[in-house]
Symmetry: C2
Subunit: 373 residues, 2 copies
């Protein structure tokens, strides 16, 4: 279980197969986010039809509602939400720092107020693992401290704490049908990132994540951080870039050796009328689409593009119909899931660089050269 | 085109086949309402999968947004919303009286203010038909005046106007790939209902509707009105009871010779956490369902009941996830669509009375005896 095999490489980009209790995951892969045990506005059948193979759910949210004990009683997350392919839960660390109020961090854990009802809650490395064991995802994450990425003294302190917590997570874990990934922190500071990557990768995790990126730093800083971390992380284990989900970041991430991505962006943009395509974003609320009989993206094979016109989608948006969120979510998720799939093909065929150039040219986004090849 | 064949009868209940440009409609049938060219929170694929064969859209709403001219340019409603089975549009009459503000009725038509933007709009029998011709549904409806069902002087005046308007609708209609149904009015007054049924059925419509019911009158008055109207309406043409959609009303309506039903109730209840079953309604927000591992209805074959527990649905509702509206809409619509299908089988097999008794006993609703058999 949890064997990871690199099946093809092209520069630092690679294809892999990760064996999980719910099937073999082909990487690179983009994971839709199902925060509260559902991908918003999408059924599991629609998720599968759009090509999703891995879904992430949030420990923080499920801890608060409906509670991990309830999910455990209902047979775990897979059974509760009826998604029978691989799943991943994060540790709650990021949400405690981005959503919860009045948090107090001590070396043992974090006390915070729920953003739902204001109740006082606490997460520690041990309780995060216990919750994730109750949820039962295939891949679970170490509890980490996410700090402001450019405040170096705080970043360094948070990173050290993240390392201590990572060891405690490894000790707390008892289920052997879950793979616990360690998380590298260190902000945008290359020396810290290297130290963190060395420290975390020395602990024997079956996979590693890069945390604390895509939180406000520049693209150059983000991509450089990925590079310095992946120089250190072992190539024979999967690498997961947390919370990243634009087409350009998937491209640049894969070129730097990333295997797994997740992000709320596709579904969040969908609920705000924005379609992600390989040619940029379209705001479908725009009056220019009122009589546009084309699909969102003529090159896209998703249900929405195979079926509906921009004019119809705009009508649903203007009329505030929830179906617009469903149809745009299907399209946006398909865009990223399919991009990952196309990258797998490009890597296997040794043409990842030209594929990247083409996608970025269509997006009209300049390539960011790799500093460390 | 538009031949209606009664294929089986059992008392006054009957099975029929109605030939439309988009296929043969088996009756009795329940039509989900797709107000704004979509059934809220449901894709056409989901609609088809739950067994829907006829969908209603609202002329009033589409006239205001996105406009019938736009729908025409986009190839008509079927093409716009990608529903390729039979469709029905109402005339706008009911919504002008239930939704619009500041309406002024004259003999020529109705001037009103849009409930969307307050703009002044006008509908006449001729413009309602023109709009419905632009929309292009298989079955279209005559423009009628819906009046308070117990105010006799007003009801009588509105009924007479409805008759004059019905003739104008017949004259205005030019497309021969649409069947125009006339609407019987007359409130709860048996003599008016009979007069209206005689008058409307003398005009040569290919089908007839019973309007102005299920608007506040008692069940006894509603069922008696159906009976007196159906004594007059010809048996060889389809009969459509407008805006009716509870399991008990479908049963009592079919026993009284109704063929077609539509109602927003299943999808509206779904958005308010209420599941319709053959055993009554469940409010799935209720805490008693928090750990209930059963489907909504163990006898139901819909996607929602085949897949999810009450506990999961309650979680989605409590967390205010839109997916709950989708899953409950699928279930509620399936309940009525399947009930109509089961009535077709019961009628064909000559056991409609015992089927009705069984369904009503499960619903714990006393049967209302037919006055006129």
């Amino acid at each position: 279980m949890f064997e990871f095999t690199v099946t093809a490489t092209d520069g630092q980009a690679r294809c892999g197969e990760f064996i999980t209790p719910h099937g073999v995951l082909q990487t690179p892969v983009f994971a839709p986010v199902g925060t509260l045990a559902n991908v918003k506005a999408i059924t599991p059948v629609q998720l599968e039809e759009l090509g999703a193979t891995l879904v992430l759910s949030n420990t923080y949210h499920l801890f608060l509602r409906p509670g991990d004990e309830l999910v455990r009683k209902m047979g775990g997350l897979h059974n509760f939400m009826q998604w029978h392919k691989p799943m991943l839960t994060d540790s709650g660390g990021f949400q405690v720092f981005s959503l919860a109020k009045m948090r107090k961090i001590d070396d043992d854990g974090v006390t915070f107020r729920s953003h739902i009802d204001g109740s006082t809650r606490r997460l520690t490395p041990e309780s995060s693992i216990q919750i994730q064991q109750n949820l039962g995802a295939d891949i679970i994450m170490a509890f980490d401290e996410c700090a402001d990425p450019i405040n170096r003294p705080y970043i360094e302190q948070a990173m050290e704490r993240t390392h201590r917590w990572a060891r405690r997570c490894l000790e707390a874990k008892t289920r052997d049908d879950q793979a616990l990934f360690g998380i590298v922190q260190g902000g945008i500071f290359h020396d810290l990132r290297k130290r963190s990557a060395r420290e975390i990768s020395s602990m024997g995790f079956p996979g590693h994540a890069i945390g604390g990126l895509s939180v406000g730093e520049s693209k150059e800083d983000m991509y450089a951080s990925i590079e310095v971390v992946n120089q250190v992380l072992p190539t024979e284990k999967p690498r997961y870039l947390m919370g990243v989900g634009t087409p350009e970041d998937l491209i640049e991430g894969v070129l730097r050796g990333v295997d797994i991505f997740d992000c709320v962006l596709p579904t969040r943009l969908a609920r705000h009328h924005s379609a992600m395509t390989r040619f940029g974003r379209l705001n479908l609320m725009n009056a220019t689409f009122a009589e546009d009989e084309r699909p969102i993206d003529e090159t896209c094979g998703c249900y929405t593009c195979r079926t509906f016109t921009r004019a119809y989608l705009r009508h649903l948006i203007v009329a505030k119909e929830m179906l617009s969120a469903t149809l745009l979510s299907i399209h946006n998720l398909h865009t990223l899931v399919q991009l990952a799939k196309d990258m797998r093909a490009a890597i296997s065929e040794g043409r990842m660089q030209s594929f990247a150039d083409e996608v970025m040219a269509n997006l009209k986004i300049p390539r960011t050269p790799q500093r460390y090849k």
